[in-house]
């Protein structure tokens, strides 16, 4: 197993269809029109020396290394900027070219340190390689003249360093920051000999606008921008392609290793979700995998007030099996259940639901998607027939209008945001529907045409008003509706939305969105060309989450924005495998592939394979598990890789439910908050320690490849299998590929999926079966999965969570770029430099009224509870709205959130809580108490 070397073709491929034939160094070469000479040569296996060119960037023509000669043309043009033409005769090597290249290289090296042997790029340096290619043998200018060799290293970024002494000012980093990432944090300062790469206004990288995505480091041809891990560990010697374990974009990375030590994660250019790009989390935030907080031995305790006792795997597994069987014997088959993880692989998730359904003999299995995208599953299945987004990420390159709703891509889905911003810079229009002025509303070179800053909780009113405008202004795509949709439901819906009570003018007072703005946005969406909707948890995590998803689905159908690239309805999935965990039958009512447990035919196929009789009744959802625990009928829970105490709403209710159980089994990397209430701890494995697959937000199934042995001894799927066997089930998979084979055999949408195919194609998007053997990038082409598109009437029902004199502000929650969800991973990395604590964003008016200054401690109280955190005063939020993140357990934002939830799916209403904010002296009494309890609960007895 060697290091995967990706070919750099120097310039981007041409999309042209017309072909051109030319001669390069005597070889006949045929390439698409518009291809550069450099790329044409490289595709023919002829490498032209280069420094400033990269196929991730537009060609630049500054380094003067790639000069070529063309018969009949004067001079020596740069091959990266010269397009091919029919019949050209090109020479990449000649005595004249060699002399020119050496001369230029001589100049570069006259101002470059000669410390190759001790340089961090040694073994992987394009400058060194190119000096070799051009045969540089001497530097006649000497090294004593004016130079930049004393320039100071900037080590302010925790993950990479910038050593300007080694810089050749090729501008690749500056261009990568602009073209690939879209942040524009770098520039070339000065001119001539003074030219230098500058972050921000010649500041440190840390204080500049840099978002630490790593694109510049990847682009650098020298050791100027270099991962600190490479400086420390040396160059990697082998690598494997794997899928990132953070957000639902599902970026493809090369895990580059030295032995079993991870040196760095490098985005993989062939990755179809990310196309060679990355964000700070996936690229750099892997330190948690080796963090000393990781628990590597199974542990038991009789009571949660006891210290933990380290035990053998045998003892722990036997204890789990006997306790679950005892509880079932005493309290009934339904007294135990399991929670699958959207952080774990498809295979692992599948096994947990199999353990519950076939081993526990009930359907008490649920997943964290309950608290994020369950309304997406429900809403899109009801309207289109499939519980998933309709497009691939490449689709955004064909969009003319993009509408984001309740999503903050630059923080939560950064690589998609970069792809979106690139399209917006090319001229696509943007509509943002969000209570906050998120970065996309205005960020360098991107500005939303319309920002609909609605009051939290009024999504359905706004979306229905948009539909009102589309119907009453006759902007409906009638041909599409007639051909593709159920006309009866359309007529009912059209009549419903056309009612004057649903007009923008009538709903303006409720939504806070000026009617004229809403009308303009509706017209743009309906008439601006290919229109695509991207939405996030700001849509789903509401009492009307499912209604809002269906309102979105209605808009796309009414305007015909489905079934081709550039359009569609795209949920931005929060977790790496939330799509997959839903696909794999994690919900209590659905078997893998979204087939209802009451469907006898589906059940029979599983029964035949598993050799058991399945319960046809749906089991308990997560919130119902806690309710049942409190009434004594539910006493044992197996939680794989989810921190329900921190991530689920109304923390007091969750912890009361857990406290009432007799056997809580937590399988995780760390003693998370839920483990405070656990009796058994089973140490899990990171994505680096196991094989499997993740399914991203575009239904793309990508391989996760093991690059190191599980530190605690077992991959998560093996632990589930041990429990299953101890409970008497026959479960003996040798490798996750066998689990995937079983999934494929039992699930029609996965029928064509196998590890062999994934190895061959890199990834596939489901449905992948006989009809679509290589997967389905865009769904519903020519017809909906359910047949005719189904319009659903979306009556706006205000949430019961209302502001009043006691709780006059609306709290909404979200994520920040550098942290991820409950922060269990990112808090244990150097990402802490960007976000050490959760803060409450509050508008200056609301702050002034309460005597709150920036940075003050404030108390946030709701009907459910209260917590304290520091305030950040900003007009990003509207008056009357406050906002916080939920990354830190010290804050416990979910102490405040209520147990209101989506009517259809119980997805909690995280995004709307009526609160009061007042000055405070510091952490609340509850926070102090909780902190003490946590310390107590995490004690591990000495051996």
């Amino acid at each position: 197993m060697g290091l995967i070397q990706e070919i750099d073709y120097g310039t981007k491929p041409s999309a042209a269809t017309a072909m051109v034939t030319l001669s390069i160094d005597g070889q006949r070469v045929t390439v698409p029109e518009g291809t550069s000479l450099m790329r044409a040569a490289m595709e023919a296996g002829i490498k032209v020396p280069k420094l400033c060119a990269s196929d991730m960037l537009d060609s630049f023509g500054s380094c003067r290394m790639c000069l070529v000669e063309i018969d009949g043309r004067a001079g020596t043009p740069s091959s990266c900027t010269t397009p091919v033409a029919e019949g050209l005769v090109v020479h990449t090597q000649s005595p004249n070219l060699a002399r020119l290249r050496r001369g230029v290289m001589e100049l570069y090296i006259s101002d470059h340190p000669l410390d190759c042997l001790t340089c961090s790029a040694n073994g992987n340096c394009e400058l060194q390689d190119t000096a070799g290619e051009v045969g540089l043998r001497e530097v006649r200018y000497g090294y004593g003249g004016a130079n930049h060799l004393d320039a100071r290293v900037d080590a302010s970024n925790p993950y990479f360093q910038f050593d300007p002494a080694k810089c050749i000012v090729c501008s690749r980093c500056v261009r990568a920051c602009e073209e690939v990432q879209g942040t524009f944090a770098l520039t070339i300062g000065g001119r001539g000999f003074e030219s230098h790469v500058a972050a921000g206004m010649d500041e440190s990288f840390l204080t500049s606008e840099c978002v630490s995505c790593g694109a510049c480091v990847q682009a650098c041809p020298t050791a100027t921008l270099m991962e600190k891990s490479v400086v420390e560990l040396g160059q990697p010697e082998h690598s494997a392609v794997t899928t990132c374990a953070y957000c639902g974009v599902g970026c493809s990375f090369k895990a580059e290793m030295r032995g079993d030590t991870l040196v760095r994660m490098v985005p993989y250019k062939d990755g179809k979700a990310n196309r060679g790009h990355s964000c700070v989390k996936g690229r750099f935030a892997t330190g948690y995998a080796n963090h000393p907080d990781r628990i590597l031995k199974p542990m038991l305790r009789a009571k949660v007030t006891d210290p933990w006792r380290e035990v053998s795997w045998n003892e722990a597994i036997a204890h789990v099996a006997s306790e679950f069987r005892r509880i079932q014997a005493q309290h009934g088959v339904g007294a135990v259940g399991g929670i699958t993880s959207s952080r774990c692989t498809n295979e692992e998730t599948y096994l947990v639901q199999k353990l519950v359904r076939a081993g526990f003999g009930n359907n008490n299995v649920d997943t964290c998607a309950r608290v994020c995208h369950s309304p997406t599953g429900y809403g899109l299945k009801t309207t289109y027939g499939t519980s998933a987004g309709t497009q691939d990420f490449d689709s955004v390159e064909h969009a003319d209008v993009v509408m984001t709703i309740g999503a903050n891509p630059t923080d939560a889905h950064p690589v998609f945001a970069s792809r979106l911003k690139k399209r917006l810079r090319q001229g696509a229009k943007l509509i943002v529907i969000d209570p906050r002025r998120i970065d996309l509303v205005r960020t360098p070179h991107v500005a939303a045409t319309h920002h609909l800053a609605l009051r939290p909780g009024t999504n359905v009113a706004v979306l229905t008003a948009i539909a009102h405008v589309i119907v009453t202004e006759k902007l409906v795509n009638e041909a599409f509706v007639r051909e593709r949709c159920d006309l009866a439901t359309f007529a009912e819906w059209a009549e419903f939305v056309a009612d004057p009570s649903r007009s923008p003018e009538a709903t303006e007072a409720v939504t806070g969105v000026p009617a004229a703005t809403l009308r303009a946005a509706a017209r743009l969406y309906a008439t601006g060309g290919n229109a695509a909707i991207y939405y996030g948890l700001g849509v789903t995590e509401h009492s009307q989450g499912s209604t809002a998803v269906m309102a979105i689905a209605n808009l796309a159908m009414a305007t015909g924005n489905l079934g081709r690239p550039g359009v569609g309805v795209n949920p931005l999935r929060g977790q790496n495998n939330v799509q997959g965990s839903c696909d794999m039958g994690s919900f209590p009512h659905e078997l893998p592939g979204y087939r209802h447990i009451s469907d006898a035919a589906t059940r029979r196929s599983f029964e035949a394979r598993w050799g058991v009789i399945l319960d046809p009744e749906p089991g308990l959802r997560i919130p119902n598990m806690f309710d049942a625990a409190l009434d004594g009928s539910f006493r044992g829970l197996y939680v794989q890789g989810e921190d329900i105490v921190q991530s689920d709403p109304d923390t007091h209710h969750v912890t009361a439910g857990l406290a009432a159980m007799e056997c809580v089994v937590v399988q995780d990397l760390f003693l998370n908050e839920t483990a405070n209430w656990a009796h058994v701890f089973l140490p899990g494995s990171t994505f680096l320690e196991k094989d499997g697959t993740f399914t991203n937000a575009e239904r793309r199934i990508g391989r996760v490849r093991r690059v190191m042995a599980p530190k605690a001894g077992y991959a998560d799927w093996e632990i589930t299998q041990l429990i299953a066997r101890a409970m008497g089930m026959a479960m003996d998979y040798e490798h996750p590929s066998e689990i995937m084979d079983e999934i494929a055999a039992l699930t029609p949408t996965f029928a064509g999926v196998s590890y062999a195919k994934l190895d061959r194609l890199g990834s596939v998007q489901w449905p992948c079966n006989e009809k679509a053997p290589e997967g389905t990038p865009v769904m519903h082409i020519g017809g909906f999965a359910r047949g005719l598109g189904n319009f659903v009437v979306t009556e706006y029902v205000p949430t019961d969570e209302k502001v009043g004199p006691r709780f006059p502000l609306l709290l909404t929650t979200g994520r920040i770029l550098s942290q991820y969800n409950v922060g269990a991973q990112t808090r244990r990395t150097a990402n802490a430099v960007w976000h050490q604590e959760d803060r409450l964003e509050i508008h200056p008016h609301d702050a002034e009224e309460r005597g709150i200054r920036d940075g003050d401690w404030v108390r946030v109280a709701s009907r459910a509870g209260e917590t304290s955190l520091r305030a950040h005063i900003t007009d990003r939020v509207a008056p009357g709205v406050v906002y916080t993140t939920f990354h830190h357990p010290a804050t416990q934002a979910n102490v405040v959130t209520t147990d209101y939830s989506d009517w259809a799916t119980n997805c909690p209403e995280y995004k709307v809580t009526a609160v009061q904010v007042s000055p405070s002296n510091g952490p609340s009494a509850w926070q102090a108490e909780y902190d003490a309890f946590t310390r107590q609960s995490r004690r591990i007895a000495a051996e």
Binding site: F184, A198, G200, S208, E209, P444
Partner: protein, 156 residues
């Protein structure tokens, strides 16, 4: 003699607002700022960036690319001596040495009394009248120590 205003954020924002709607507004804004304040301080860069929806880095790159954008307020008079080839050949180097010695300042510096700022310039297009200079925006040709002193005294 130009009178420069003290730099202020409010005035800067007002100047930016005057030009922000123009296509390619960055350079007109930077020129207007230099005209009013005599320089474009680094503090102005984020304001220009925010108004034009550019990054701070981009504005910084533009400002630092052009030598003519000063980073600090100049003295009451600005002498720009040509250091290009034709002027050097015609005694410009000696003149430059003498000016620096006499006023006790190097390039880009201002005399302690704030009277004079000395800047190098690479060609004013007056090669036929070398050595050349520009004093407070007025071009001067065929200079020697005496004629330069005379010019400086005139504006003092």
């Amino acid at each position: 003699m130009p009178e420069y205003e003290r730099w202020s954020e409010a005035r800067t924002n007002a100047i930016i607002a005057e030009h922000a709607g123009e296509p390619g507004a960055t350079l007109p804004i930077l020129h207007a700022l230099q005209e009013v304040f005599g320089h474009v301080p680094v503090e102005a860069e984020p304001l220009v960036a925010a108004a034009l929806n550019l990054s701070r880095a981009e504005v910084h790159g533009i400002v630092t690319f052009y030598h003519d954008f000063r980073r600090h307020a100049p003295g009451r008079h600005v002498l720009r001596l040509c250091r290009a080839e034709a002027c050097q050949a015609a005694g410009g180097e000696a003149l430059a040495t003498e000016v620096r010695r006499r006023h006790g300042i190097d390039w880009h510096a201002t005399t302690p009394d704030g009277a004079l700022t000395l800047e190098p310039v690479f060609c004013l297009g007056l090669c036929a009248c070398a050595p050349a200079a520009m004093l407070d925006g007025e071009v001067l040709g065929r200079l020697d120590e005496a004629t330069l002193d005379e010019a400086l005294e005139c504006v003092a």
